[in-house]
Symmetry: C2
Subunit: 213 residues, 2 copies
């Protein structure tokens, strides 16, 4: 059964980006520390086309992010902005010529645009309709596989608030950002039930997977 | 080396008590769910003088709370209020005749009062001075052992903000309280460095221990 799932790094005080986010500093002040546990690892380097890297229980976690994923959903900031105030029709996002998704990516945006086909199996589709409709199309594209929600936080919040997330994995990082963007804000009134289904302890991070009801 | 340590149950969205806390409902709406993982367990029942109970990796965690503790610090609400608006000099708190601490307990309060000696080695001392001074006296009482901070959140925040916590263990519970009292609020400007030093996965909860710098 195709489900919508996402993973995100969160500080111990609940932030997925630090204060004063900007286009130059999309993770806000201190936000890069959210990913320090990952950048030197073998699986992280591999996903970005590089060799070598450290061993850690986190490698299997990172590999899991890409397993059984048939389509991806992301917000326009995660794509890299545009078209619109931040870009133009030539702008193909900040993921490079061969983005690491290798499947159809559905970008939630207010700006209609023709699909953009990249190398390696990634095609960006720009979705201006309701998030429910974007999910339906992503599920259809995914076939038997899952749909991965790549972020950012506001898109994750919208899907959580709508009760459409099946599973989420929080990589809990031992830092206090003290301000910024909280993952669990703007969730509306719906009851969101969580079941803890897996924990991985690794250097500098604890990965916890929850089934969402 | 004697250190100040504390453990607390926190919802995935960062709350250690739900909204609308009151004397009748000190954990606020939904706050009792923070402790659901614990109440049926052998070690929890044992700490409250009861027999039986379930097995879980959480039992060793709960037992650890009581190991190597020579003195305890808590806020007045954790003691049970009083003397003052909520009680009188006869009120010995809500921990019963034989409180589960079995060591000197230093209660942070604005109201001076003579010490109260309970059964089983617990004596409540009421501290009206600065938190630093209360900690010094607790450390002296603890000897070679640690000082446990039993809560509540506002006392934990004061000691965190003052840079006096040595170690904390967060029992992260898979619930979203959506409002209430956050552990990591009111921390002032001091940098608080954390090092993840242990993780225990258990049914309905993940316990993570951090060294605090």
């Amino acid at each position: 059964m195709t489900k919508l799932r996402f993973n995100i790094a969160m500080s111990l005080d609940g932030f997925v980006a630090g204060p004063e986010q900007s286009q130059e500093n999309p993770l806000g002040i201190g936000g890069e520390e959210l990913h320090e546990w990952a950048v030197g690892l073998r699986a992280f380097r591999e996903a970005h086309g590089k060799e070598g890297g450290e061993e850690s229980p986190s490698n299997a976690v990172i590999e899991g992010w890409f397993e059984n994923v048939g389509a991806t959903i992301m917000g326009r900031n995660m794509f890299g902005g545009g078209p619109g105030p931040w870009g133009d029709d030539q702008w193909t996002g900040w993921w490079g010529d061969e983005p690491p998704f290798h499947n159809p990516v559905f970008v939630i945006t207010h700006h209609a645009r023709e699909p953009v086909e990249m190398k390696g199996g990634t095609t960006f589709h720009f979705m201006t309709e309701e998030i429910e409709s974007a999910l339906e199309q992503a599920k259809e594209a995914a076939g038997e596989k899952d749909v991965a929600l790549a972020g950012g936080a506001s898109v994750a919040q919208q899907y959580l608030a709508a009760g459409l997330i099946g599973e989420m994995e929080i990589s809990l990082v031992p830092i206090l950002l003290r301000g910024g963007e909280r993952l669990f804000d703007n969730l509306g009134d719906r009851d969101i039930g969580l079941e803890q289904i897996g924990v991985v302890e690794a250097p500098g991070v604890t990965h916890i997977t929850y089934r969402v009801a």
